[in-house]
């Protein structure tokens, strides 16, 4: 299914605003203990093993991947104006986005202990 540019941009804006919210929650969560302590190995793993936190991380991953790779697509298609380049850029960003989400999801699952 080919999305219209307005539909893609609607997704772009929604993911951008949603990412702001979840990243803000993510940063605030760092402040429940001293910052350096929050980055210690045990605490990080403990975060991953909390299902609610793992869902938050997954949503950050998905939202930022969609928003970021679409942003990259927008920048790249302005460089050249031909169909082959546009299609190549679209396919490249789509594949890169899916690969990043898959790899990140795998990391979350493994750290969570479900894998």
């Amino acid at each position: 299914m080919i999305l219209k540019e307005s539909q893609i941009m609607k997704i772009h804006y929604i993911t951008g605003i949603a990412a702001l919210f979840v990243v803000a929650v993510h940063i605030i969560m760092r402040l429940v203990m001293p910052f350096s302590m929050s980055l210690e190995y045990e605490n990080v793993i403990a975060n991953y093993q909390n299902i609610a936190y793992a869902v938050l991380l997954e949503s950050i991953l998905v939202l930022i991947a969609i928003h970021g790779f679409n942003g990259l697509r927008i920048i790249l298609i302005e460089f050249r104006q031909n169909i082959a380049w546009e299609n190549g850029v679209t396919v490249f960003t789509l594949v890169a986005m899916i690969a990043l989400i898959a790899y990140g999801t795998r990391t979350i699952i493994v750290a969570n202990g479900l894998g």
Binding site: S6, M9, I74
Partner: protein
């Protein structure tokens, strides 16, 4: 006694004339005009020619250029017509800013060096004259005319009156002031990087017809601008609105048109359409 009065009157007149002449003399000055010269048909390189031009307080840059062309170098290529900011022909970059030469007074410019260059984003035909073909193609691609299925321009008996309220006119009025001078197009950084981007002028015109309740081709116009190189490639630099000599705000038009595309806009267009139809029936 009468003779004495005559002498006094004549002396006063003489003093007045002298004062007037000295005011005129002080308002005259010389500016240094730097004019971009290029003739792609003969030579691909470009250079600046310098001219010393006498100007008055009320002289415009176009006056200065025409003086240089008339008395110093007849080969300077300039496009101009109305000299009153109506035709939009004399757009050029004056001291780095896209402006109309006929609408820019020499006295507005800091210093007495005036650098005139052709508008950016337009291929140079010669000197200060740019090629507007792409610009007008983008403009005509927006179908800048009223589409209305109810309007029959062939059968006189079926002629319909397009009734609009002052509020309906307000929706698009400022965008109809566009004189197609190309200043916004030349100031737009997106046009500079993406040649298929329609530019602020064409997009603002698309909005002008979308906002016009006499027009019923909203969806087809939205489809025209909704593509990879369409309205979404505007990054809202806002320079188009800054340089417009007619006070049009193309950046606003683009944002309002985007509102229609993502369904964030109010339903005013449909309401206005139905109101016009009802008025037509009565």
């Amino acid at each position: 006694m009468t003779a004495l009065l005559n002498i006094k009157t004549r002396r006063k007149k003489l003093e007045r004339d002298e004062k007037k002449e000295s005011t005129l003399e002080s308002s005259r000055k010389v500016v240094h005009l730097r004019v971009y010269r290029k003739n792609p048909k003969q030579d691909k390189s470009s250079h600046f020619d310098k001219f010393e031009v006498p100007v008055q307080r009320w002289s415009t840059v176009l006056d200065a250029l025409l003086h240089a062309k008339g008395y110093l170098d007849k080969s300077i290529a300039i496009r101009y017509s109305c000299r009153m900011a109506s035709c939009g022909s004399c757009g050029m970059k004056i001291n780095g800013i896209p402006r109309l030469a006929c609408y820019t007074k020499v006295s507005e410019i800091d210093g007495n060096i005036i650098t005139c260059e052709p508008l950016p984003n337009f291929p140079v035909i010669r000197d200060l004259v740019g090629d507007f073909s792409d610009f007008f193609e983008h403009h005509s691609a927006m179908e800048p005319f009223i589409h209305n299925q109810n309007a029959d321009i062939v059968d006189e008996n079926r002629l319909t009156e397009f009734i609009q309220t002052p509020e309906d006119v307000e929706n698009y009025l400022q965008f109809s002031y566009c004189i197609k001078c190309g200043l916004c197009y030349s100031a737009c950084p997106s046009v500079g990087s993406d040649t298929r981007f329609p530019g602020p002028q064409a997009l603002a015109q698309a909005y002008r017809y979308v906002a016009d309740n006499r027009d019923d081709a909203t969806q087809s116009r939205l489809n025209i601008v909704d593509n990879k190189h369409g309205i979404w490639r505007c990054h809202f630099a806002g320079s188009c609105s800054v340089v417009c000599p007619k006070g049009v705000d193309p950046a606003l038009g683009i944002q309002l048109l985007r509102g229609h595309l993502v369904n964030f806009s109010k339903n005013d267009k449909k309401l206005a359409e139905s109101r016009t139809r009802n008025l037509g029936k009565t």
